[in-house]
Symmetry: C2
Subunit: 315 residues, 2 copies
């Protein structure tokens, strides 16, 4: 079985390796790729039976109402918070995502960002380039023996927890469900409030949905320990930006994030002002290994749907 | 018992916290601190019974011959390659160092430097600051499942190996002696040549002495795997700089070091030319936790010597 018309929105040529483009072409009679802003989107939607989108894309009720033949929405990415999955279910549309491909990439980045911060690596390298090899005036600290809190012990969170154990941290987690298999490794469960308030390092790993939007609200942000480093490699919609701003103004904590396009320009500008808010591009899932796994799962999902054995269905 | 005259060379006020200065003052009738270049060094040496020096200091035969009353040389640091320990023994001078205080600090830095390199963190942050949040054009890779080689499984090397295990690397080591306790943790022994030639990441952890000078010589440098990242947080005297330069010219490996003052200006300039040679100041042992442990052991050594129960004697 093949699709009649696959519509891909927002994809650039180098988002997929040639062999994955080739595999997509094999499963459709017609392939249309359009930029996000194209005025032709609606026209092609009306006849497409497959819609492929990238992380952060919105596919709402209106979009689906304009796509009477749509059977499948494939997301090249893990988060699908802006896709109306319930409404899709009602219309018999299968939605798939690409989970887990970036587990290692995200977890390793968390430590890269933390160590970059606590060892002042950028400043150190710059000084060395300028010929200053002095070892004084660094206020570095260690991960070992510190309290490392994980919020959300899913695919990524559990990996961060394991690596933190390797560093010799005291690792605590809060998750909606207890995860006994990780507790057996030495990752300790605690109340959400305790994890937030006692952690020297705190890493957020929640999926975005209606329940988790603004999860880190004013009250919880106020509970964060003085001097703590909070890392968010999950969508920033988990965080109340205004409340975060207030806390950043105090200068008594550091917030590190890898921004993906879920955050508005306005919020980005707000946070960029603070020296204690360190913003990276969305490089959490950007490794060679993750890129290959991601494309492979994404195209596999399409093929498996057509074979009648859908994989990574989220609705 | 107290010393008659402690001579401290090259120490700055902020090298020790006040309470450690106070403890030193308590154990001597006279305390002289001089800069390294001072013309008064020889004069004061002739009457000092205790000499305290910082990492990288040279205390040779001539110096000791000029110090007839010297009983104790205390090194604020681990490496004592430039202290003539044998000659000191002949003259009945006890030499002590400060080992192990920076185990975690060094090991954590190794991963900070590696992740900073393989995730291009500095470039990423710079781009984000400039408003470029694109996720493409990063050639990042992961530590997981890579071969991670450790040369020298001592205090620091063994800790690097353990953390690498936490990252899910395949960890191999070569050391002069087998370390069965670490092999039980999953750190595998292999021949030196094999460790050098198969490692994607290679971390050097040898003490500097006559046997290890130029340890990484032309032949061994040529064996390093293409694309490998080699990290040296040990003295650069372990490495044949000219041979390293040749290999760096090829552009097929990356060398990361945290420079301490053992390296000459000339060699430093040579290496600074190469983009694939990343030089940090000597921040391996610079953390708050290590700084406290270091001063505490250093001053404790002096006190313990006077009590007749010397600690951390190296000769």
């Amino acid at each position: 079985m093949r699709f009649k018309k696959i519509l891909m929105i927002g994809f650039e040529k180098d988002n997929l390796e040639q062999k994955y483009w080739d595999r997509i072409k094999l499963v459709t009679e017609e392939l249309i790729t359009l930029p996000k802003e194209s005025t032709n989107v609606m026209k092609h939607l009306s006849t497409a039976d497959c819609l492929l989108v990238k992380l952060g894309a919105t596919v709402d009720k209106e979009t689906m109402n304009n796509a009477p033949r749509l059977k499948y929405i494939g997301m090249l990415g893990t988060g699908y918070g802006r896709i109306g999955t319930e409404y899709a279910s009602n219309k018999g549309i299968v939605v798939t995502n690409v989970p887990g491909y970036s587990r290692e990439a995200v977890a390793e980045l968390v430590f890269g960002m933390i160590l970059g911060c606590i060892r002042e690596l950028e400043r150190a390298k710059k000084r060395a380039l300028e010929g200053d090899y002095s070892d004084s005036r660094y206020s570095a600290s260690e991960i070992k023996d510190k309290t490392f809190g994980i919020i959300g012990l899913g695919r990524n969170g559990s990996r961060v927890a394991e690596i933190a154990l390797g560093f010799g941290a005291n690792v605590f987690y809060w998750s909606r469900n207890r995860k006994r298999e990780f507790e057996a490794e030495g990752i300790k469960y605690d109340d959400l409030e305790c994890v937030i308030s006692k952690s020297d390092f705190l890493s957020l790993h929640l999926a975005l949905n209606k329940d988790t939007e603004n999860f880190l609200d004013e009250k919880r942000i106020a509970q964060i320990k003085k001097g703590a480093i909070v890392v968010n490699t999950s969508p920033m919609e988990l965080v109340d930006i205004n409340a975060l701003e207030k806390r950043l103004e105090n200068g008594d904590m550091t917030f590190i994030l890898d921004h993906s396009d879920e955050m508005t320009e306005e919020n980005l500008k707000k946070l960029s002002k603070y020296k204690n808010c360190i913003i990276y591009p969305p490089i959490g899932y950007v490794t060679k290994e993750a890129a290959i796994a991601k494309q492979d799962i994404f195209v596999g999902n399409i093929e498996n749907f057509l074979r009648g054995t859908p994989t990574n269905k989220v609705n």
